[in-house]
Symmetry: C2
Subunit: 485 residues, 2 copies
């Protein structure tokens, strides 16, 4: 394909994309296909000679779209949102064209420097303490990771290195293995599975702290676990506090947990993957109070801030804590500026070496929405969640399982788990909307997350009418079964 054909096909693709997004409501949100559907539809091998673009674009509708779960449909209420916006897509086109790999400052100075500045912009939107910003007087700064999982892992590895060095400095006879054997990390029992996985990868114990009645990690339970572990000769070193858990959007009590971490010299990492975007609104910023105790903080603009995946924003209070865990400098990656205090080599901040020019997406989105536009977007989603909550509350057959703070509503039919499982099954079989469940303690709960940029009140009301109708059928079937038995 030469440049002139790209001009033509690129514009066709722009229209295809626009048509897809404009017409997405007309597509069934969850596909009908069964596992293994795709392989028989495509040849067994790549073609020797080129296919035409027309072939491919027609196969997109024939082969791909029937198997797509449409995350951007206004009837998609599963998991958490994935961000999508026109400005981010435009920036991604530019990113693809430049194709630089920004592992060091020299590999593309603009790629590194725009990222540092955009992370400062975003940090200021959240009113992060100055210590986390690169342009301030402190030793902190931000980096774009690929995912919250990577951010948690990177924080855990940095904390592991730091505690090993500290203990070895005091007792040079200790080996890293003998220290690691005693390290303990902590998170709430509501934390995301990626925290457990970071513990597995980092080969350290992870303790799940029992959360309280509001699914929050509190001082008393954390303190108890720390005391028990220390009494057993173990070494606490790392705490993950979650703001906005995946199950039910609960918030660990940072103002209690933070001071304990400070007293005990534990690395505090905050995972606000979903909720973090909301902190750009003054009315939600209080949820972040206590961030001043953290060593690292992370959330995903690629979830709820209109920046397409991948863009996971991570800040640290002390840059050298991260880079100290990873720094390796082969000669082919050295460059003449690298010992200057002004430059950043982001390869020392992350697991992969390569990285795309992702900050362009932030730059386009922040500028084309403005802070007010972004705030309005968050507020609309929260308002839609409250609208759904109030609909649920009007139906005495249902209960709300968790206070609605942001864009997630946890609800269920009063009654058995079985009846709620049956309801979810019917919902996802009907495929008019898409939901996923969670367990809150022993309860099977339905989660409705406001996800799409184009979700409006009408979609929420249609979803609720549909759920009520199916609930009626489920309850009817249950009554019939009871009568029979």
């Amino acid at each position: 394909m030469d440049t002139s054909e790209f001009r033509r096909r690129g514009k066709e693709m722009v229209d295809y994309v626009a048509d897809y997004l404009e017409g997405i409501e007309g597509r069934q949100v969850y596909p009908d296909v069964e596992p293994g559907y795709l392989r028989p539809l495509v040849p067994a091998c790549a073609p020797e000679e080129p296919d035409t673009f027309e072939d491919i674009i027609s196969d997109v509708e024939k082969i791909i779209m029937p198997g797509v779960t449409h995350w951007l449909s206004p009837f998609f209420f599963a998991y958490f949102p994935t961000a999508n916006s026109y400005p981010a897509m435009l920036a991604d086109m530019l990113c693809g064209a430049i194709s630089c790999i920004g592992f060091s400052w020299a590999a593309s100075p603009a790629c590194t420097e725009l990222e540092t500045v955009m992370m400062d912009w975003l940090g200021k939107m959240l009113e992060l303490p100055e210590a986390f910003l690169a342009g301030g007087a402190g030793e902190g700064g931000g980096v774009i990771q690929g995912s919250a999982s990577e951010a948690t892992l990177v924080a855990l590895l940095a904390a592991r290195t730091k505690v090993i060095r500290r203990l070895q400095a005091a007792s040079p006879e200790l080996t890293p293995a003998s220290i690691m054997d005693k390290l303990v990390a902590y998170s709430s029992d509501q934390a995301h599975s990626s925290v457990e996985r970071a513990g597995l990868i980092g080969a350290v114990r992870l303790r799940a702290i029992p959360s309280d009645g509001n699914f929050a990690m509190r001082a008393s339970a954390l303190r108890e676990a720390l005391d028990r572990d220390k009494a057993a000769g173990l070494i606490p070193f790392f705490v993950v506090a979650t703001l906005g858990t995946t199950s039910c959007c609960s918030f660990d009590n940072l103002l209690e947990v933070g001071p304990i971490c400070a007293q005990e010299d534990l690395w505090l990492h905050i995972d606000a993957a979903y909720a973090g975007s909301a902190f750009i609104c003054p009315e939600f910023r209080h949820l972040l109070n206590g961030v001043e105790f953290a060593d690292s903080f992370n959330f995903n603009p690629h979830k709820w801030l209109l920046v397409n995946f991948d863009c996971s924003a991570m800040w640290v209070k002390k840059r050298t804590d991260l880079t100290g865990a990873f720094k390796l400098d082969p000669v082919y990656l050295k460059h003449s500026h690298q010992d200057s205090g002004l430059i950043t080599d982001y390869r020392h901040w992350q697991i992969p070496l390569g990285r795309r020019f992702r900050s362009l997406k932030m730059w386009f989105v922040f500028r084309l929405y403005g802070v007010r536009g972004l705030q309005a977007y968050i507020r609309k989603h929260v308002q839609l969640a409250h609208e759904f909550e109030s609909l649920v509350l009007q139906d005495p057959r249902f209960e709300i399982c968790m206070k609605v703070t942001l864009g997630l509503v946890c609800f269920r039919l009063k009654g058995s788990n079985q009846v709620n499982e049956a309801l979810l099954q019917r919902i996802n079989d009907a495929k008019k909307i898409h939901l996923v469940p969670c367990h809150l303690r022993d309860k099977f709960v339905l989660r409705l997350a406001i996800c799409s940029r184009t979700t409006e009140s009408a979609h929420v009301r249609l979803a609720w009418a549909h759920i009520r109708e199916l609930a009626g059928a489920v309850l009817e079937a249950e009554r019939a079964a009871e009568t029979k038995s």
Copy 2:
């Protein structure tokens, strides 16, 4: 920005991208900016109210482009290539529009299934043993990772889990920590820094095996290290063989290393990040002989196979070895099909949870180039490297430092490291072309890698004339300094 504005701006961006790539030769390949250049050019905070698209696109030329290292310039000969093609960019637009997050089969069946099939297509292009393919009779399959660094880490973690479980099964009293304390991984002293980093993250010893005169890991040196470690009570478990090292594109001797790994029950991972793309040409396939001994194999289509970053292709012989290292299943990620043998939940194959629909890029590129088009592209780069090699060989002041196999030429002025450092400095100061160096043993060596899709013979000849001219000036300056002293 509404859909109709996106239609307009998207088409403008297509033209911007096309203009950028058509005119890239006219841009200075390496920027003039100094560290910290960008911050003063942008506001300290994000705007409250939206900027216009015109503002942004004009700032791209004013603020971004002056700080870009143009990796796609035909005068860029540094590091290794980064892939860029029109078909991949078109696919990426579609990927951005669908925006699904393919962590499980249910999260978007097409995203998972196309990836599995594309990895089979690519595996067949490379003539990988059937055991590595998902559609065959074996237990293997492919996955797209973000980078070779991640692939190496994932392989090491899977190997670590496997050996710990095996040893614990035999001796249940052993703790994971006591086993990890004895584990040893091996790679050549020429292996990429990401291997060392995987060892750091995985908290296992990594032994650098001295390479031979051709910078290859050989049986004798590996055998010696294994015997020494075993005698010391350590437990060898993992070997990384590199095909196409970053420094000089040397090849570890797979046909020697492979059988040792098989005898000793060591996980063999092959890192062919750069060179792997060449194995789609029958005349280079022999370089992969011995892959049948490997447990995992990885290379980067995002380097040299025209699939834009990120797309790192990894295959394993036994899927459950990978998934066994990571499998965690919270209820909100469970789905009804997941216990079927047909489906794949790629979240268990990788470090992050989220993932883009990256296989679309492979599908578009493979179909729009065809296998022959891809082979022609590889052959052209190799031919250009040989052309440069022959130019160097005609100048008695220079020497070739390593046999040219693929697209990389390692060369230097006969003489001191100092004179070669001075030459590189002049080259990169002049900014007509861009190179990075390497160390081969105690020698400072210049690397010229054919990188851009648009590099032609004329660019290589211009680069050589330029290097010769600067070499003349460097040698002149050296003579003058000698006369003076």
